[in-house]
Amino acid sequence: MKISNIFSRRNRILLRELVATDFKLRYQGSVLGYLWSLLKPLMLFAILYVVFIHFLKFGSNVEHFPVYLLLGIVMWTFFTEATLQGMQAIVSRGDLIRKINFPKYIIVISGTISALINLALNLLVVLIFVLFNGVDLHWSALLLPFTVLELYVFSLAIAFLLAAFYVKYRDISHIWEVFLQGAFYATPILYPVSMVAAQSVFAAKLLVVINPVAQTIQDARHSLITHQTQTVWNYVDKLWIQPIPIIIVFVTIIWAVWYFRKNQRYFAENV
């Protein structure tokens, strides 16, 4: 897996066709088709909105909390989609792998790319909400693509690891689904970090430092919605702690690529 190969002509063609095929197949036979990938996070948002904002009065001290919540949900949805699809990518394309030799990572990337396209469209929806909610757009909004890039790289790393693991141990899909459920609550999506800080400041800081998904969600909220958002940069005082999430992402992707490369030789016979 050389970086130069990822963008070779042949691999680009293949990636494009695989992504296009995934899309066609996923929404085939459904009336609303592609709209579902927009509707799903919105519906989840509606439910959480009613339960947590309307009844439980979460986030009343955060301005524009509904959009704040929606952005978090959209980014979390991307993370789950990318990792779940990436994990199953190799196994579900087992027929191909057993019969033709081509770069395996292309399949994992293609699984995450369709999630990335969904994220882009969902972010457009978020932007519409942002405008309707009367949020003052700041120059900092331009930082959003970098935050998304970081989240994508992290998701891709997890996808590589899971995909390689899933070839050998099918149990991992169940484990990962349960893990994601737990992680959803361990990530400040529904509740603002300040709510945790009311109980324990240390826990609140820990939350954004050890979890790159939390860090990117908070960063995105900070740059797009409100500068009140606690991010690792403005909330953690020690300078040497601030880059920890990015280091985690970096280490994870290197480990993932190494692990995937090591194992891909045997995908064809194990899958």
Partner: protein, 394 residues
């Protein structure tokens, strides 16, 4: 020979698979494995010590029985499997046709599948648009391209797959038994395509157990058996050796066929043996044109009872059949042994003999005996087909 003339170099190749004992693809088994120290799998050696070269522009055959390891060898050549030891070196681009229609999805239309398959071969949309009409024309599927693939017949799928596969501009083609599919007319087309590709200097590797194809196409062939190369040589030598190997392996399958499912009270056969005319020693190998005698022990023979004989080749083709009614021969009452004399104007290969007793002018069969004996026609000629006709050029 310099390396530049070689398309494929294979050296000291070893490959084995781990076969899990039971469903061991889970964390539970992995966890238990830590404690019990049992391996949970068996190692099966599939290929051992395989080395050979294929020259550029050669049409090379890899021949072997089912389970001999030839498909594993093919997948190693294609880079799909990684060898345990040794290496495969390929000079130039290689396209495997291990199965036609790799990645075909039944839920997509023929057109969509074509573009996806094209992408696997490295063609982008623009190139596919250019070749589209030609491909579809070759496959003769113009009317069906917007239908979902699940509504295609298997023959149609194969035609579509083949038509796109041959567009791949590779230096080496790896073909696995694809010639066995499609109807006669399409097969003819495939053959012509292979010849055309060969003329263009493409190296072709054909993996098959069809000796006809090897004799027809290959310049050289390799015989593999139980994961080892038995020999490499001309298609003629290899096919001779292959037939012999098959013949010996078949031996066990003819087991006491006479007694099976026979009503002891009705007329039936009790035994049979085959030998050369004028030599009572039982023989199994003959040359084309030899005259052989099949001696049949019969019980309950009668004037009204008939006896039929059928010859089949190893592909199951019914080559010849006759019976006593057709030939106007009457079995005497109480007869114990009948001799059937036949001139074996057959082509080299393995044959089996079936026999039956019947009555009422061959309209009903009393007892049927498959494989009462078998024989082999030795490879002394290179003519092809089903029958060895007497012929001359003038």
């Amino acid at each position: 020979m310099s390396d530049k003339e070689l398309a494929v170099t294979v050296r000291d190749l070893y490959k084995s698979f781990k076969l899990p004992h039971e469903q061991s693809g889970g964390v539970k088994q992995a966890a238990m494995g830590i404690f019990s120290r049992s391996k949970g799998y068996e190692t099966q050696k599939v290929l051992s010590d395989v080395s050979f070269d294929i020259k550029k522009g050669e049409f090379f055959g890899i021949v072997g029985r089912n389970g001999s390891g030839k498909s594993t060898l093919l997948k190693l050549l294609a880079g799909i499997y990684a060898p345990d030891k040794g290496f495969v070196q390929v000079n130039g681009s290689l396209t495997p046709f291990i199965e036609l229609g790799v990645g075909f999805n039944p839920e997509l239309t023929g057109r969509e599948n074509l573009y996806l398959n094209g992408a696997l071969l490295g063609f982008d949309r623009g190139q596919m648009d250019e070749m589209y009409d030609e491909i579809v024309g070759f496959a003769e599927l113009e009317k069906f391209m917007d239908q979902k693939l699940k509504n295609y017949s298997s023959g149609m799928q194969v035609r579509l797959a083949f038509s796109i596969a041959i567009r791949a501009k590779s230096d080496i083609l790896l073909i696995d038994e694809v010639l066995a599919v499609g109807d006669a007319a399409f097969q003819q087309k495939c053959y012509e395509t292979f010849f055309e590709l060969k003329r263009q200097g493409v190296t072709i590797i054909l993996v098959t157990h069809d000796m006809g194809a090897v004799l027809k196409f290959c310049d050289r062939a390799l015989l593999i058996s139980k994961g080892r190369i038995t020999s490499t040589g001309t298609p003629f030598d290899i096919s001779e050796e292959y037939l012999e190997q098959n013949y010996n392996a078949d031996k066990d399958t003819v087991d006491n066929p006479i007694k099976s499912q026979v009503n002891e009270n009705a007329p039936h056969l009790e035994g049979a043996k085959m030998h050369r005319d004028g030599d009572i020693k039982v023989a199994e190998a003959y040359e084309p044109g030899d005259t052989a005698v099949i001696e049949i022990d019969i019980k309950g023979g009668d004037e009204s009872v008939g006896l039929g004989i059928q010859l089949f080749n190893s592909d199951g083709v019914y080559c010849f059949g006759t019976n006593t009614y057709v030939d106007g021969y009457k079995l005497k009452k109480g007869i114990k042994r009948v001799a059937f004399k036949v001139k074996l104007d057959l082509l080299p290969g393995n044959y089996t003999v079936n026999a039956a007793t019947m009555d009422k002018g061959a309209t009903s069969v009393i007892s049927y005996h498959s494989k009462i004996c078998k024989f082999r026609i030795k490879k002394t000629t290179e003519v092809e087909g089903v029958a060895s006709l007497e012929h001359a050029w003038e």
